[in-house]
């Protein structure tokens, strides 16, 4: 039975092909990144993460969680955002943690009712910077317990049971994009505070060290 399914799976996946021009885009982007130093800058950040990982793993020094956040390019990238997160009451943190746990148990990754438009993507980049500099949304993201409660997609809303962001057909406003950024930061922060998650991160650090020591396949 499994062999037959394996055959079907193989057949299905062999039908999956890259979209036209993706190879050309990859070649062009790789050349650009290598030429303008973008990749090297990102590599430097990754190396800093590995260095921090080494130090943490051997237990010689304790590195503030904040440093970890910066290294991993987590949602928490500024002291202003961190201060905001630290103000979240414990009860609220627990609620958010339970929600994230539920998402993980039910294997739901975040999904969106539509792709971001290019304009929204570029606004998001700008607003991410402003968010880190202390521009926060006036309200929190609207949420419902289950997707069935949503009447229409007129407004931005998040369904907890399916981890689904329902985006309005119109362009997202700055306030709404900030709400999404804030929501993501909150989830990241709450997760980071959990001892079990910290244990898992330690395992990841160790894995990063192994990776740093070599890719494992080269002689």
């Amino acid at each position: 039975m499994s062999e037959m399914n394996g055959g079907q799976l193989r057949h299905a996946l062999k039908q999956v092909h890259m979209k036209e021009n993706m190879q050309e885009e990859i070649i062009m982007n790789v050349r650009t990144q290598m030429a303008d130093g973008t990749y090297r800058r990102n590599s430097f950040k990754r190396n800093m993460v590995s260095a921090a990982a080494c130090l943490m793993a051997i237990g010689m020094v304790s590195i503030p969680a904040y440093a970890g956040y910066q290294g991993f390019k987590s949602a928490i990238t500024s002291d202003k955002v961190l201060a905001r997160m630290q103000e979240i009451p414990n009860e609220e943190q627990q609620d958010i943690y339970n929600m994230v746990q539920y998402e993980q148990r039910s294997l739901h990754a975040d999904q969106f009712s539509r792709e971001y438009t290019e304009k929204e993507m570029s606004r998001r980049k700008v607003l991410q910077q402003e968010y880190e500099n202390g521009r926060f949304p006036e309200n929190t993201l609207a949420m419902v317990e289950n997707a069935g409660q949503i009447q229409d997609y007129g407004e931005l809303v998040y369904a907890k049971d399916t981890s689904y962001f329902y985006l309005p057909e119109r362009e997202l406003t700055d306030e709404e994009i900030l709400q999404i950024l804030d929501f993501n930061s909150t989830r990241e922060y709450v997760l980071e505070q959990n001892p079990e998650v910290q244990r898992q991160k330690m395992e990841q650090y160790e894995e990063a060290i192994r990776e740093k020591q070599g890719d494992g396949l080269l002689p």
Partner: protein, 155 residues
């Protein structure tokens, strides 16, 4: 290193693996690009073509893991929609949909074994996990397929 030749030879294979793990076209392209950047940066010496392929898969799956864990992720399209975009035949779509519903770690192992033809030991080497973990993930993946496909195709 001949970037263009390497991309032409291996990117389709990397695409299949990364899209299954990440479920997003844009994240997949990012992962493949970073893989080839590392390829140019490290300039590894390969014993043969298989060694090169395994190295690329290892680096790509590591990038996928980083994207999933630590970076801003592009919006994901719903599984149903993604499966429809990737393949056209109904049976293929069902198989892809079932695969995408598995946890990402399981998907990677299933693809490497059933699609790319790697053995348990090789997968363990590529993903940096134990052979036991590979076997477990394969077993869970097969169980998931068995229950769902049996219901739909064996009536």
């Amino acid at each position: 290193m001949d970037l263009e030749a390497a991309v032409r030879k291996h990117s389709e294979m990397l695409y299949r693996i990364c899209i299954v793990i990440l479920g997003s076209e844009q994240d997949t392209q990012d992962a493949i690009q970073e893989t080839f950047c590392k390829y140019l940066e490290k300039k590894p010496k390969f014993v043969d073509g298989e060694h090169e392929k395994a190295w690329l898969i290892k680096v790509a799956t590591n990038h996928c893991r980083d994207i999933q864990r630590f970076r801003f992720r592009h919006p994901k399209v719903p599984i149903e929609e993604l499966a429809g975009t990737l393949v056209s035949r109904q049976e293929d779509r069902e198989a892809v949909r079932e695969l995408l519903q598995m946890p990402p770690k399981q998907r990677a192992v299933m693809v490497l074994h059933y699609v790319e033809g790697y053995q348990v030991k090789e997968i363990a080497g590529i993903l940096g996990i134990t052979e036991h973990a590979v076997k477990k993930r394969l077993q869970r993946g097969r169980e998931q397929f068995r229950t769902t496909w049996k219901e739909e195709y064996c009536r």
